[in-house]
Amino acid sequence: MGINFSLMAVLTLVLVAFAGVKFMGLQMFFGVVAPYAAMALFFTGVIWRVLKWAESPVPFRIPTTAGQQKSLPWIKSNGLDNPSTKAGVIGRMALEILLFRSLFRNTKLEYREGPRIAYEWEKWLWLASLLFHYSFLVVFVRHLRFFTEPIPFFVQGLETVDSLFQVGLPTLYLSDLAFIAAVTYLFIRRIIIPQVKYISLPADYFPLMLIFTIGATGIIMRYVTKVDVISIKQLTMGLVTFHPVIPQGIGELFFVHVFLVSILFAYFPFSKLMHAPGVFLSPTRNMPNDSRIVRHVNPWNYPVPVHTYAEYEDHFRDKMIEAGLPVEKE
């Protein structure tokens, strides 16, 4: 159900943009209004959601300790997987965010007769995720050439590296290949691994298909149908400088591409894509395991009924005296 629904949703979006431009002349809407609205929704939505998270305190210090604690000086502690200092936490978070360290631990269950259980090597998910996110980042940064004038050196530099092999003209970007390969892998694993398919919701297929289609339309424009990039940059620079223009002669495919990107940004704050800012706030990762050293304060800590020693002794006094246990009141 999720697959079909998501497919239909993405196809509908493509058709809406295509028809809107082709038959109704809604270039202004798909090229200017939608991107602006999407950006507004993206920024307010993401900030609102992060502030919502920030509204809830972290009452307890609950890092997942994945290494030796700091205890006796002659026992080597694992400062990254079980940090006790701020620097350690920064290191742990950096590894988590930049290299997906936890996902790197992934294994695959092999259940065999006997029973004999094995945990097999499984780094494909990690690899595909890393590839997906980094190629997406490269594509994102490369697109800055449409949004900056003059174009900063790092965008040019990245482009040079990305087209290193100089295959064809326009040169093939390695990130395009990696991106499509990774998205395809992530999609295929979602439908062929039975457990992963079982847990997948429309909200899992939709972003993958949307992102795939964004990539595909971009790639088609660059390598197949060709577009007038000068006019496109006039449009994009118009957006950036708040002097929007719709130059003549831009094909429908471009508006489809831009509209899907707009949908992605608008959808971001209301979806699982919020894992991007969320990972920074994860209490099991971003805190040092030092709660035996420094007191962590819970802002809503409230007094609770307890069974006091006095009540306990009142209850058992005779028995305690008889057993020779010391008591407060004879």
């Binding site: 502030l51 509204e55 900056t148 482009e159 000068i230 940059k233 400088t241 708040f242 802002p299």
Partner: protein, 133 residues
């Protein structure tokens, strides 16, 4: 709205927003200049029919493909003749055919390439035409 760990979260949000809106800061609302391609070289002015090897629109979007094909034809297949849209035959030659008309590399090639951050490697092998100002 009470915020916890605002000392880290608020700067975090600000850094994120600033990075993501980087193009806006760079542009600061000033309208950007667009390239102004010039076709007024002496050779073009002398032409009776001002027509390139393929239609203008095709050349605008796909000249790199044409050039790539020309290179392959000349260097790899030793084919030196290209039949244009109107049946006219052209010598496959960047310096003598293309640059003959478009002798104004700075105004014709570089403007757009710079505007879009494209670094074609034509001139790594070919000699750049000398422009007379």
């Amino acid at each position: 709205m009470k915020i916890y760990n605002g000392d880290k979260i608020i700067p975090g949000i600000l850094i994120g927003v600033i990075i993501l809106t980087f193009p806006l800061w760079l542009a600061r609302g000033k309208a950007a200049a667009t390239p102004d391609i010039k076709f007024d070289t002496p050779v073009i002015q002398k032409l009776a029919v001002k027509q390139c090897v393929l239609p203008k629109e095709t050349m605008r979007t796909s000249h790199m493909v044409v050039l790539n094909d020309w290179r392959d034809a000349a260097v790899r297949n030793n084919t030196r003749v290209f039949t244009g849209m109107d049946g006219k035959k052209y010598d496959i030659n960047l310096q003598n055919t293309c640059m003959e008309c478009h002798s104004n590399k700075t105004h014709f090639c570089d403007q757009c390439h710079n505007y879009l951050g494209v670094n074609p490697y034509c001139w790594k092998c070919h000699i750049e035409p000398k422009e007379t100002k």
